[in-house]
């Protein structure tokens, strides 16, 4: 106690989370309520005073980075809607979680876009999927579904087509599992609903109008496009959704003045499959292979974030053993290998975008092929790894990477696993990175295309909730592996890559440095694997149950994935015994949120640069659209 009293009073911007919460509580006693639900953390803020409190949190308490903003529908669990915000300090440390509750009938919560532009897409998503209105939002329209879509699909009482049961596993599968095809059932059955005032004969898609309106074009697209309209200098150009440079089905709506872009509006959702709704029907275990399909370039990282979140929840229970050291070492190794895969891919395709068509990318993905061979031998699949489990892994490293000839395959390989890894990590991957640098870093064409193009300042990067190489390329040394460490990263020796310029070239340099740092981490992992040879990969010494029950509570597990901060927000509802299916399963997708500053970054550059700027963000549509 004496020590505490003697300690100099810490400035509130760097105080601990608990101190920050009590500061809030004392300054806004009537607006703040501690969240005392079982297994929950943070504070509940009165929506009327949310803006004031959020401003204090950002400016006085120093939580300048809004990582995640998402909604939860507590139908039957209190019957209210809730927005959950996770704010962090870019200097490091844990989250200040604050929430605002509203009723389900007419949900309204003031928009935080004035404080954090990074809330823009996330609030639009909450409006789209939950129907929460955000007064003050500059452009509140649907983002993943299309305008004119009826209903808000993430609400608990919304049912999809082919709806079968609320939760998996479905009863129809066993013991009386008579097979049927859902699609052969009547598609116009009871699952299809229309707005009451709709006239099917006069059905018109209003999504295009809404998109053009948001660009301030005063709508009437026809008028702009007709003869008279061309007298203005502005021209609307649609890039995508089917365009090779968009890395998938992504669309950018540009207004151009000559060749110069005056504004850009990203349009997405073409690959939307309501991953989160599927995730809430699934059991906890079911979700692991589904996370592979988010950022399908680095599925190991996706697995890692999700199992971390579930393990956080499980640690609330009585019987919980943390993962063994060998398990953690293997996880880190896999994640770093997939970071290498991701960055090789990102740099390669960025070069495609700026015109070096496929020569560099093919040199890089030769190494990727071998890493994927390794994933295939260890996890069973090259890209959809599905490798991590709660408290463990699918399997330990096999002794040999070995294929046997059989009916379908006639070519045999047989390598010692550790020898293969050692050669990859000590020779092949570093050699490829050297080649990559020789080919590109001083290449005059790359320099001219990328230096001072797509500039994003450090303040903007933080305010727009940019993450990963996009954030670090703007001079913000924020890497979750260091800022809010997880797994065995604290004991590993590596540096956070950071570049000050904030342009495309800086992002490229960050990725190259991260490639080298990943190799550095992998070199430290190898002796750790040798040392833990006899250790079990399972926390409990045996494989986990196939239907684990997860204690009541909430958790936000986040990892530094190749593309940026990947977070999973989970809520486990149900009785005190916990649940076998998540009540809320939210993915804070870096590819999605990193698109928020795209419009800002593109203003004033040429149309040909837009392709490169998008490539330098490094998105994957499986994760953007979810």
């Amino acid at each position: 106690m004496e020590n505490l009293a003697a300690a100099p009073e810490q400035p509130i911007e760097t105080a601990s989370i608990d101190d920050a919460v009590s500061f809030l509580k004392s300054n806004h006693p009537d607006a703040i309520k501690l969240d005392d639900r079982d297994g929950y953390e943070g504070v509940i803020v009165d929506p009327d005073q949310l803006l004031d409190v959020a401003r204090v949190i950002r400016d006085e308490l120093g939580f300048d980075y809004l990582s995640s903003a998402t909604a939860v529908d507590y139908l039957g669990e209190g019957d209210h809607m809730e927005m959950v915000y996770h704010a962090y300090r870019t200097s490091g440390g844990g989250a200040l979680v604050f929430k605002a509750q509203t009723d389900r009938e007419n949900p309204t919560i003031p928009s935080l876009t004035g404080l954090w532009r990074g809330a823009d897409f996330q609030e639009r998503e909450a409006w789209d999927l939950y129907g929460i209105r955000f007064p003050g939002h500059p452009n509140l329209k649907r983002i993943l579904m299309w305008e004119g879509f009826h209903g808000h699909p993430m609400r608990k009482d919304w049912r999809e087509a082919y709806y079968e049961e609320e939760l998996k596993p479905f009863d129809s599968r066993w013991p009386g599992g008579h097979v049927h095809r859902s699609e052969e059932k009547n598609v116009f059955g009871k699952n299809v609903s229309y707005p009451t005032d709709i006239d099917l004969n006069r059905l018109m898609d209003s999504s295009e109008t809404a998109v053009y309106e948001s660009l301030g074009l005063g709508v009437d697209v026809e008028r702009i496009m007709d003869k008279d309209g061309f007298e203005t200098n502005e021209l609307v150009v649609n890039m995508g959704p089917h365009h090779p440079s968009t890395h998938g089905v992504f669309r950018m709506l540009l207004t151009v003045d000559g060749e110069t872009v005056t504004s850009l509006e990203p349009v997405m959702g073409y690959l939307h499959r309501n991953h989160e709704k599927i995730g809430e029907r699934n059991t906890y275990l079911h979700n692991i292979p589904f996370t592979d399909r988010l950022d399908y370039i680095s599925s190991m990282g996706n697995n890692h974030g999700y199992v971390l979140a579930v393990e956080q929840l499980m640690s609330l229970g009585r019987k919980y053993n943390p993962p063994t050291y060998r398990c953690e070492a293997l996880r880190v190794m896999m994640v770093e290998l997939s970071r290498i895969v991701n960055h090789l891919w990102a740099i390669g395709f960025w070069l495609n975008d700026i015109g070096a068509f496929f020569t560099p990318v093919l040199y890089f993905i030769q190494e990727r092929e071998r890493i994927l061979d390794f994933f295939e031998a260890v996890a069973g699949s090259r890209m959809m790894c599905n490798y991590m489990r709660f408290g463990g892994l699918f399997g330990d490293l096999p002794e040999r990477i070995k294929s046997v000839a059989n009916l379908t395959n006639d070519r045999v390989r047989d390598y010692n696993t550790m020898q293969f890894l050692t050669e990859m990590i000590n020779e092949r991957i570093p050699r490829t990175i050297d080649e990559l640098e020789l080919l590109l870093t001083q290449n005059e064409i790359v320099l001219e295309r990328s230096v001072d193009v797509g500039v994003l300042s450090a303040e903007d990067a933080i305010n727009y909730s940019a993450a990963g190489p996009l954030l670090r390329g703007s001079g913000v040394a924020y890497d979750i592996r260091r800022a809010d460490p997880y797994s065995i990263y604290p004991e590993l020796d590596f540096d956070v890559a950071v570049e000050e310029e904030g342009d495309m070239y800086a992002r490229y340099r960050v990725r190259v440095t991260e490639l080298r740092e990943s190799v550095r981490i992998l070199r430290q992992i190898l002796p750790r694997l040798e040392a833990t040879k006899d250790e079990s990969i399972w926390a409990d010494g045996k494989p986990g149950a196939y239907q684990p029950r997860v204690p009541h509570g909430e958790a936000y597990g986040r990892v530094e994935n190749g593309k940026g901060e990947l977070g999973y927000y989970l809520v486990s509802a149900g009785g005190r015994g916990g649940s076998s299916n998540p009540w809320r399963y939210h993915v804070r997708a870096p590819s999605f949120i990193n698109l928020t500053p795209l419009g800002r970054m593109s203003q004033g550059y040429k149309v040909a640069d837009i392709v490169g700027i998008l490539g330098s963000i490094d998105i994957v549509l499986g994760e953007t659209d979810r």
Binding site: P169, G177, P289, T359, D373, V412, R413, I445, L447
Partner: protein, 281 residues
């Protein structure tokens, strides 16, 4: 000097170009010959140059853990006591643990008593829905469902070909041992026998009762008499038929591995088993 970086990069491209022909010089046309050694080198960590695989003329052998649409294990046709019998007991765990819910099982019932019997009456997998995650194989307590290596499932009509029924799904036990000998061996260690859990139980029971009746030496484990000449093995290339475990008694390890390591694995597996038994009470 302006252009130096460009020139260096072009030299690298030239080196890659030359290296891609070095392989041709090294192997000549043997590169495309069906020699497994060449292929292992080309795909290995030492090689430089082209690593392309000329599918479908050549195919990369998939590793043992590779997973594609599942299949069901049935006992080999020449098994002395359980020929053609399913390993599946229709317990339904695979159907419950399946993330996209693509498995449908009709539990078997005894036609006379109406009580459930440990054998599925029908088993369907919709391979259009299957996401190849491998959970069914991972969590099956009887090692009865396994992930296949046969990835060439294209067909002209998805409505008639893509729901696999029990007949289409069933493959003999010897097939599994031929595509994944190491894993089959590890599973054997955990089970304690090459036989199905139930079969081993029956054999033990049968043996003890037989001893009690006539004290004649019981045919101990039928395991010892399993042979590898199963129907499915006919189509298998020579090499793999040789690699497949021929008989539990003669050679429990079908591949070369030194004795100490094998002992170590056995010890670990037994430890795991003991731990599990202790846990269950």
């Amino acid at each position: 000097m302006y252009g130096t970086g460009l020139a260096k990069g072009l030299l690298l491209t030239l080196r890659h170009f030359v290296e891609s022909y070095m392989d041709d010089l090294r192997y000549g046309f043997r590169k495309y010959h069906h020699s497994t050694d060449n292929f292992g080198i080309r795909q290995g960590t030492k090689t430089k140059g082209v690593i392309t695989v000329q599918y479908p003329d050549e195919k990369v052998a998939v590793p043992e853990r590779f997973r594609f649409v599942p299949f069901l294990i049935v006992e080999d046709e020449d098994h002395p006591t359980r020929a053609g019998k399913d390993w599946c007991t229709s317990c339904g765990i695979c159907a419950k643990v399946c993330p996209p819910q693509c498995i449908w099982i009709v539990r078997g019932n005894d036609p006379v008593t109406g009580r459930p019997v440990p054998e599925p009456e029908a088993f369907f997998i919709d391979i259009d829905i299957c996401m190849n995650c491998g959970y069914c194989a991972e969590y099956c307590p009887f090692d009865a469902i396994k992930m296949d290596h046969d990835y060439e499932l294209a067909s002209y009509d998805r409505t008639s070909h893509h729901i696999h029924d029990k007949e289409r799904l069933s493959k003999p036990n010897s097939y599994w041992r031929s595509i994944a000998p190491t894993r089959a061996y590890d599973e054997m260690l955990v089970r304690g026998t090459w036989e199905h859990k139930d079969a081993a139980k029956e054999a033990r029971r049968g043996a003890s009762s037989a001893r009690a009746r006539s004290s004649q030496p019981a045919a101990q484990a039928p395991a010892a008499t399993v042979t590898a000449a199963a129907p499915a093995a006919e189509a298998t290339p020579e090499s793999s038929a040789a690699a497949a475990p021929s008989s539990a008694a003669e050679s429990p390890t079908p591949w070369s591995e030194d004795e100490a390591k094998r002992e170590e694995r056995r010890r670990k597996a037994l430890e795991r088993k003991a731990r599990r038994a202790a846990k269950q009470g």
